[in-house]
Symmetry: C2
Subunit: 276 residues, 2 copies
């Protein structure tokens, strides 16, 4: 059987998602906790979005495969369902910067990574040092110059759609950089913080932060609106387009299709990754 785990973390003190020897990572913290809670020798999870060092998540999704019967056997004397009991045990074991929001049996065909329709990130920027609520300072970037959100939205619009985002991706051998950018919009929240919503079928490495870095240069007037699409068209990394700091980035939500389309979506995604 496969279980789906919805989780949230403050990325500040994690060296990203992926387990690395000797470093505190989300996967490296979660897997031993799962093994302890389930009384199994080891656990291996797969996530929807492998976040970098310092990147936060409110809506990360992972899956874990278990021997049938294991979950109900480990529930103990709790009145809760086995999955609710597991959530409770995990939150008791895990540190406070990593919380399990939900545990459930995954529907047939579900794969946290390959069934996902889209990933949605938020990037938060306070464009004046006084504008940052100290209680939010760990997930809001401070930008020293005022941002023109109209210019940023105009530039963002030109990047939407199915494109080769090589200019905004850290190169990886043999990996495609073609993605469909579904949303890229900037609004101010009720505290005046500029919030980007960035949604795509998937993201290549450092793509959101590269897009944001480019748009910040447009927003503060150092570059014209047209620059973003010029960088994109060059189809290679532009050294003058900087990668925005991880601090402001949060994985907010992962979208999955209806249960009866999960397996087809996973097949589709795998095929795409190979063809492209």
């Amino acid at each position: 059987m496969r279980i789906r785990i919805d989780l949230a973390y403050d990325g500040t003190d994690f060296h990203g998602w992926a387990a690395q020897p000797g470093l505190r990572t989300v996967q490296g913290t979660l897997e031993p906790a799962l093994a302890t809670a389930l009384r199994i020798p080891a656990a291996r999870v797969v996530c929807a979005g492998r976040t970098d060092t310092g990147v936060h998540a409110r809506g990360q999704v992972a899956h874990l495969d278990l021997e049938p019967g294991l979950l109900s056997g480990s529930a103990g004397r709790s009145q809760d369902s086995p999955t609710v009991a597991l959530r409770g045990r995990l939150n008791g074991i895990l540190p406070r910067d990593l919380r399990i929001r939900r545990v459930g049996e995954a529907p047939e065909g579900f794969d946290a990574r390959f069934s996902a329709h889209w990933r949605r990130y938020a990037y938060r920027v306070a464009d004046d040092p006084w504008r940052v609520d100290p209680l939010r300072r760990h997930h809001v970037l401070v930008w020293p110059r005022p941002l023109d959100l109209d210019a940023m939205n105009e530039a963002s619009d030109m990047l939407l759609g199915l494109r080769d985002f090589a200019a905004f991706c850290r190169r990886r051998e043999g990996a495609t950089t073609i993605r469909t950018l579904l949303d890229l919009t900037w609004v101010r929240d009720d505290e005046g913080v500029a919030v980007a919503t960035v949604r795509a079928d998937a993201f290549c490495h450092s793509m959101v932060r590269s897009l944001v870095g480019c748009l910040l240069a447009i927003g503060d007037g150092r570059r014209p609106v047209r620059w973003a699409v010029d960088v994109l068209s060059a189809a290679r990394r532009d050294p003058s387009a900087t990668v925005a700091r991880a601090l402001g980035l949060t994985l907010e939500e992962v979208g999955y299709p209806a249960d009866d389309e999960l397996a087809a979506q996973a097949r589709h995604t795998r095929a795409l990754r190979e063809v492209r």
Copy 2:
């Protein structure tokens, strides 16, 4: 001349507002920064609500008296107004867990402490460990049992009005414990966190946290609704009513009357404190 300073802080790493030798406090951090920014030997501020160790603030207000002309003289070559320039310099000097939101010339008769009409605090509780967003964990208390907000609101209603809150105050020799409780309501925010809004003309020491501690015992079913008003009526500290942790408490806003009533309000407050 007098200036008004609106400020916000994450109370986690402060030993409260009041300056204390050898401890990191808000006042003890702000005053030297003001002296540096204004190039004066020392600065002395008065605040609206002297928060305890670990208590946060989004809407703290303070005032500072300056020699006339000092502010405009210190503005340097900035194009900003002297008060905006001072805010910028202060935020450059201060640590990131303490931010100055606004600096302005105070109207005639303004006193951050004595002109205040009311103080409004929020207390935030997640009544299940999975419910806490890790990015908010520094200002949301985790409560291990589910809370019945209807019961808490019923109990809260019975405490409103002009009363002697001695049962909920840490005793101080010669100080009155009579206060007017204007609002005490519980709602769930969009993440399901229970948020108390607590507003009064003024609060005595640890009053909000004592009220919340009492209401949590009602909310999780250990005490009947009637208990809060029973504790109040006893007019002395009830050792079974615990003080809720500082972590969940934030000073959100201080209300002042219209400019032409500031001086009258200050006289009224001073008189009340003496008579009561």
